[in-house]
């Protein structure tokens, strides 16, 4: 017999020349696309999360750039904490086309309609501010009326809260003002400050007549400059630069304001976009697991094709084309949905955004979303689908034939790319390689941790499940270990969602626990400040009369540093950059006393004291942490500038200060017998339990001591809580995305195991199981799954939350067990619901139908 030894020359075609694979992709796919529903759904959720956050960011940055001048309301603002010098004002005047001024201070105001009072930001205006942007008032002429001096305006939030109408009046300091109207919108960077400290506006002329500006009052003065051109502004800046330091003023330009706001928002955006990115990564898990299932299902078909002479690559290409097509569709859909979702975010956060974001389609975010979606679908499809190439044709004869090859170059490359993907994409998202790398490591740790916990739980339950449990419980458990059931993937994806929500909850309760000073017995929750020395006894008497505890009455002296360890501040600023500027030049508010406050503990050295025998003999204590910032130790010398008088002192000890505990607390504490004669103001702290009591006290205080301000810490706490709640809402929303992805994976897994389940159920039925029992088994199985997923996530969150609290926030770790239980129940319910909804058909199918289909 002749034996051919010729090498076969096959024609090698690439994907574009080989029309057959395209035809096959279409023919095979046309009735089959629903099989890849899970794949598309995973992709859509992930891309939608990312695009919604990204698009909001781009719109916001756009808006910031477009309305930059409105953010400041002027071309340039000069800020000072002293009255602006006349010569300086004249210099500005001769270099500007228009000027306006304001003075801002904290003050109590009493609403005469209800006789309630509260602390507000009092803004006294003069001139035609704003030069850019719009001041929206109701009625429209409120600003003009206010300038007459008899009227005041107030923020709309304040007016609503205290039910102020236009014929009411306010008492500010010693004076009464009629209400001219409310301020709806004001340039200058958003409503956030207005929520934290609502404002009341009067004219600058009438400020003096209120009698509020006294010694020690902290007033911020600003001059707003309008120029005809940017050139003029630049010229003015050039003139100001050499002299402004001498006056102790500072200035802010439009660019600086925009950058500040932009950066602030950017860091918030980074945080959110990383969360959205986690949702996308979960989508990737969904993509990979759905393609894995798909590739398994297609094995028989591939074997037939190979029998008839198709190459491994051809078979691979057929399914790859299908998935690529759906990947594009899913990405576009996801990006579109993300765009729609973006519209919801300003509704929630409108108050906190520095500018109003109008609806705009961010093409960049859209494009990024689509590109990322396609990249994700290719990348996460490659690994599971590559197995198709190695399906042996022998599988047509024996369906249990194993894959012919375990290692391939394609697979190795795909694996490498998948590891690189989160790092590169996160680096792009945050515009920082380090952040990307850290994120990659964090993701690896998080997923690794979740997989470890999930596997451990499954192992434990297998080991220790009671052998004598009822049949349905045992059988439901064994279902979790059904081959191809993807139990670990499900535990990890659903668990990750639970993990994010639980971690958020734990950090939130730990942080709030920290500021929850109102809860603890006898701690001060109300601070009175700006008390003048002659008023001190009167204020204390009022507190006593009202039956309020006088927790603290402390003097405050403001001073600056002149020298540290014999070296002048200027010299220190020049040589090393070791000590930050703010610490060197800031105004320190110090007190004097001879004992420790209840929030203080001496951890080194001795208490502050005066040694009469020695020449320079004043010893002060410094708070822990600050001694490191200023790089000083016990025994080092300091020179303070006390209202123009230099005073040398030594450090005698270091105090540990629990800052939130019973405020006010201080960095420097002097001994008694030194500062008594220095100009000073007093701060008093008390605790008020009842709202009614608080109202009466505030009323009496404002009547008797109009210049004394009062801070209700409970009010601030409520505001902080509110802000936290809104942030938490977005985080929850994104975590919800990941839970949804997990549930989509679950639904897919249920659908894909449908036939195996039906067969098994048919078998159980022939063995005598009733429908009720089969339903029960299914329910219990999803209960297990939901329970283990929640447990996996929450256990991991407790660990991560502890680490975060201990090392990042540095607060005590606090867990609200009840709330975590709610999270667990929520996750469990959703899992059972989704599992059940997708299984009903399986349970209802009569056994005969299943058995017939098998043949």
């Amino acid at each position: 017999m002749i034996e051919y030894q010729i090498k076969i020359k096959r024609e090698r075609k690439n994907i574009f020349q080989d029309g057959w694979v395209w035809r096959m992709a279409w023919r095979d796919g046309r009735h089959n696309f629903s099989r890849l529903f899970l794949f598309v759904a995973s992709l859509i959720t992930g891309i939608a999360a990312l695009v919604s956050i990204g698009s909001l960011n781009y719109s916001l940055q756009d808006e910031l750039n477009r309305n930059a001048k409105e953010l400041l309301g002027a071309d340039l603002v000069v800020n000072s904490n002293k009255k602006i010098d006349t010569a300086f004002y004249q210099l500005l005047d001769s270099n500007a086309s228009a000027l306006a001024q304001d003075a801002e201070m904290a003050s109590m105001v009493m609403f005469m309609n209800s006789r309630q009072s509260r602390l507000v930001k009092l803004t006294a205006w003069q001139g035609d501010f704003p030069f850019y942007g719009q001041l929206v008032t109701a009625p429209a002429d409120a600003y003009q009326r206010m300038q007459s001096g008899e009227y005041a305006m107030l923020d709309e939030t304040l007016a609503t809260q205290y039910e102020i109408s236009s014929d009411d009046s306010l008492k500010i300091g010693n004076r009464m003002f009629k209400v001219a109207g409310v301020v709806r919108k004001i340039p200058g960077g958003g409503q956030l400050t207005s929520t934290l400290a609502p404002a009341v506006y009067i004219s600058l002329r009438s400020l003096d007549s209120t009698g509020l500006v006294q010694f020690g009052s902290r007033v911020a003065y600003s001059v707003y400059v309008k120029n005809e051109s940017e050139k003029e502004t630049n010229a003015l800046v050039a003139k100001l630069n050499p002299i402004i330091g001498k006056y102790g003023y500072s200035y802010e330009t439009v660019a600086a304001r925009r950058e500040g706001l932009g950066e602030g928002f950017q860091s918030v955006y980074r945080f959110f976009s990383l969360l959205a990115f986690v949702a996308l990564l979960l989508g990737c898990v969904g993509v990979a697991s759905s393609v894995h299932i798909y590739a398994r299902e297609k094995r028989e078909e591939v074997a037939v094709l190979r029998c008839m002479g198709s190459t491994g690559w051809q078979a691979f290409t057929i399914y790859f084309i299908q998935i690529l097509f759906l990947g594009c569709v899913g990405s576009v859909l996801g990006a579109a949905i993300g765009m729609a979702l973006q519209q919801l975010i300003p509704v929630v956060f409108g108050d906190y955004l520095p500018v109003q974001v109008t609806f705009a389609v961010s093409w960049r975010a859209l494009l990024e979303g689509v590109v990322l979606g396609v990249v994700v679908s290719v990348l996460f499809t490659l690994l599971p689908l590559v197995n198709v190439r190695f399906v042996p044709p022998l599988a047509v004869l024996r369906s249990d034939s194993v894959l012919t090859k375990r290692f391939s170059k394609t697979r190795a490359v795909a694996m490498g790319l998948i590891v690189l993907f989160p790092i590169v994409a996160a680096a792009y998202q945050t515009q920082s390689a380090v952040a990307g790398l850290l994120f990659g490591i964090a993701i690896a740790l998080a997923l690794g941790g979740l997989v470890a916990i999930a596997s451990l739980l499954l192992w434990l339950v297998r080991q220790f499940f009671p052998v004598h449990a009822r049949f349905v419980f045992r059988h439901a458990l064994s279902n979790l270990f059904r081959p191809n059931n993807q139990t670990t993937v499900l535990l990890v994806t659903i668990g990750l969602g639970a993990f994010i929500i639980a971690t958020l909850n734990i950090t939130q309760s730990s942080l709030l626990n920290q500021v929850e000073f109102t809860g603890t017995e006898n701690q001060s929750n109300t601070i009175l400040f700006d008390i003048q020395t002659p008023q001190r006894d009167g204020v204390v008497a009022l507190m006593n009369e009202q039956g309020l505890p006088v927790n603290q009455v402390v003097p405050i002296v403001t001073c600056r540093l002149l020298e540290i360890k014999g070296k002048s501040i200027e010299a220190i600023q020049k040589d090393t950059a070791k000590i930050p500027d703010w610490a060197l030049t800031r105004e320190y508010r110090v007190t004097y006393r001879d004992s420790l406050h209840l929030s203080e503990k001496l951890i080194k050295g001795q208490l502050q004291r005066v040694e009469r025998s020695v020449n320079d003999s004043i010893f002060v204590t410094i708070s822990e942490g600050m001694h490191e910032t200023l790089n000083v130790q016990v025994g080092d010398s300091l020179v303070f500038d006390i209202q123009g008088v230099p005073l040398k002192a030594h450090i005698s000890g270091i105090r540990q200060v629990d800052w939130p505990k019973d405020p006010p607390n201080f960095i420097f504490v002097f001994p008694t017998g030194v500062l008594e004669n220095a100009p000073q103001i007093w701060v008093a702290a008390t605790r008020i339990e009842e709202d009614v009591q608080a109202a009466t006290f505030q009323q009496r205080l404002v009547m008797g001591f109009p210049n004394v301000s009062l801070i209700d810490l409970r009010l601030i706490l409520a505001t902080v809580q509110e802000l936290f709640d809104k942030v938490a809402m977005v985080v929850r929303f994104l975590a919800f995305f990941s839970i949804v992805t997990g549930l989509v994976v679950l639904a897919g897994a249920v659908l894909n195991s449908r036939f195996a389940r039906m067969k098994e159920n048919a078998l159980l039925r022939t063995l005598g199981a009733r429908t009720r029992q089969i339903a029960l088994i299914t329910l219990i199985e999803y209960c297990y799954l939901g329970f283990f997923a929640a447990l996996t996530g929450i256990l991991f969150a407790v660990g991560a939350g502890w680490l975060l609290c201990r090392f990042f926030f540095e607060v005590a770790f606090a867990v609200a067990v009840g709330e975590l239980a709610y999270i667990a129940v929520g996750v469990l319910t959703m899992t059972v619901l989704i599992g059940w909804l997708n299984s009903r058909k399986v349970i209802r199918t009569p056994p005969l139908q299943v058995l017939r289909k098998e043949g």
Partner: protein, 230 residues
């Protein structure tokens, strides 16, 4: 001298299992001439399917050589063997193995299309007509009976005008009447097309219709006989 289509020489196949090495085929040698119809019979587990898989190049032997149409299959790559299958080999399986997502017509077209041929459509129609399914060509496998599905498989097998047809229990899943119908067609077309046929079956009656019978047991050929037909 008649042409040799298939030559197996000392074919041995063993599997590594947990319980050690399991020899499924042991030194099997035989030849098949062009145009001949050969059947392989034997008890379950005797290695018939394994042997068929090796002969068709679906798997590689542990030792021994195999040439198909003069091509040594042993040291060919999987994709090269796929090419040989596409050129010279047709298959009919016990469980039909139609692609569920394609219509009958599309199923039949696949092997020719794989070659890049553009004329697959008229030929496929012709073959479907020949197996009596012209009316059903746009139906999906799930809409056809077992016998009809096997007829589609038959049409698909003959589409490429194979030199050799491998059939593994082609009637195993069919009832008497349908089985009869399929066998009839198989032998008829085989005669008309002068295709070489290798048939694996349990059915002695069916085997009697071929020229030669190989009887297997425990991985060896224990008997070789000519039928009366020859």
């Amino acid at each position: 001298m008649p042409e040799l289509v298939l030559k197996a020489d000392g074919l041995t196949k063993s599997y590594r299992t947990e319980a050690g090495s399991l020899t499924v085929l042991d030194q099997v040698s035989f030849e098949v001439q062009a145009g001949e119809a050969l059947s392989i019979i034997g008890p379950s587990g005797s290695g018939k399917t394994t042997l068929l898989g090796l002969c068709a190049g679906l798997d590689v032997p542990t030792s021994g050589t195999l040439s198909l149409m003069g091509f040594k299959l042993n040291n060919m790559s999987e994709d090269d063997r796929a090419y040989i299958r596409n050129r010279f080999v047709g298959f009919v399986f016990q469980n039909f193995q139609l692609l569920q997502t394609l219509t009958a017509l599309e199923n039949v077209m696949v092997p020719l299309e794989l070659r890049g041929e553009r004329q697959a459509l008229p030929l496929a129609k012709k073959w479907l007509d020949r197996v009596g399914l012209a009316e059903r060509m746009n139906h999906y496998p799930s809409q056809l009976s077992g016998g009809e599905q096997q007829r589609v498989a038959l049409a698909r097998a003959f589409m490429t005008a194979p030199r050799i047809l491998f059939a593994d229990e082609p009637t195993g899943n069919l009832d008497g009447e349908n089985a009869e119908n399929i066998t009839e067609r198989l032998f008829q077309i085989n005669r008309e097309e002068k295709t070489t046929l290798v048939l694996v079956t349990h059915n002695l009656e069916l085997a009697q219709k071929t020229d030669r019978i190989l009887r297997m047991k425990g991985g060896r050929i224990i008997e070789e006989s000519r039928t009366t037909r020859a």
